[in-house]
Amino acid sequence: MEEFSLDALRSGDRAEFARLVDTYSTPIYRLGLKMLGNQQDAEDVLQNTFLNALTHLKDFEGRSSISTWLYRIASNEALMSMRRKKNTVNLDDFQPEETDDVPLPEVFVDWSALPEDELLSGESKKAMDAAVSKLPESLLMVFVLRDIEGLSIKETAEILNLTETNVKTRLLRARMFLRERLSTYYRERLAPEERPNG
């Protein structure tokens, strides 16, 4: 993990800020891509995150790590953009869910041993992207931070202002949701041709 001088950043050291931008622009752009599904929106999230960071750096007290702080700004930007696109604003959308229920699996096809080139083909990637795009917003945020960005449960909870238990529940629901969708996709691909010729 790269270290940054908070004093330098707060006092407007542009070289240090440029280094910060270069360190975090790839993961933040990726977060935007996964959350919003297109490059233009991802670029907006990226630019707004660093513009926001630049404006508020002087108020950053360093109680969380700079990475957690940046991810928090980026997550908020992505969430606002998603809601603008849906043309709805519901402040309750991101409150912890009442239920801990995890839907039971329904598809039991073991596609995990398929060859890498099959699993990483363009078509499989599309199936994965389509599945991710169907994740409910509250699960998507947790999934992107934890499984795509590789942050810890603790960091994810801190960024999204959730309890660790809540993050774990949402992560499990997200993983199960995607597993089910991919299993349905591969079940169809693995099914032997049963129809008679002609």
Binding site: S25, Y29, L104, S124, M128
Partner: protein, 87 residues
């Protein structure tokens, strides 16, 4: 097969993420592994969940920041004099 989902399977499902992430105590892992030995459905759910996570992580490496996106970002932040700086 799909309707074969017992109480023990549901208990495992609740701990599946933490089991995959290696966050469970050894005693609980041993219980889960004992259940897995005799339950094909749970083995399938475990294997395919692990693979699902692997697959989302692989392309992430490929999604590097495009050069033109970096250039526009630096311009927007008035950092264009640092554009040539090696990452």
């Amino acid at each position: 097969m799909a309707d074969h989902y017992h109480e023990n399977c549901q208990a495992l499902l609740g701990s599946l993420s933490e089991y995959i992430d290696g966050e469970l105590p050894p005693g609980l892992c041993a219980e889960i592994e004992k259940h897995l030995e005799g339950c094909e459905n749970c083995r399938v759910v475990l294997n395919t969940t692990k693979r699902t996570i692997d697959l989302v992580q692989v392309p992430a490496v490929e999604e590097a920041l495009p050069k033109d996106v970096r250039e526009r970002l630096f311009l927007r932040l008035n950092l264009d004099d640092f554009l040539e700086q090696k990452k």
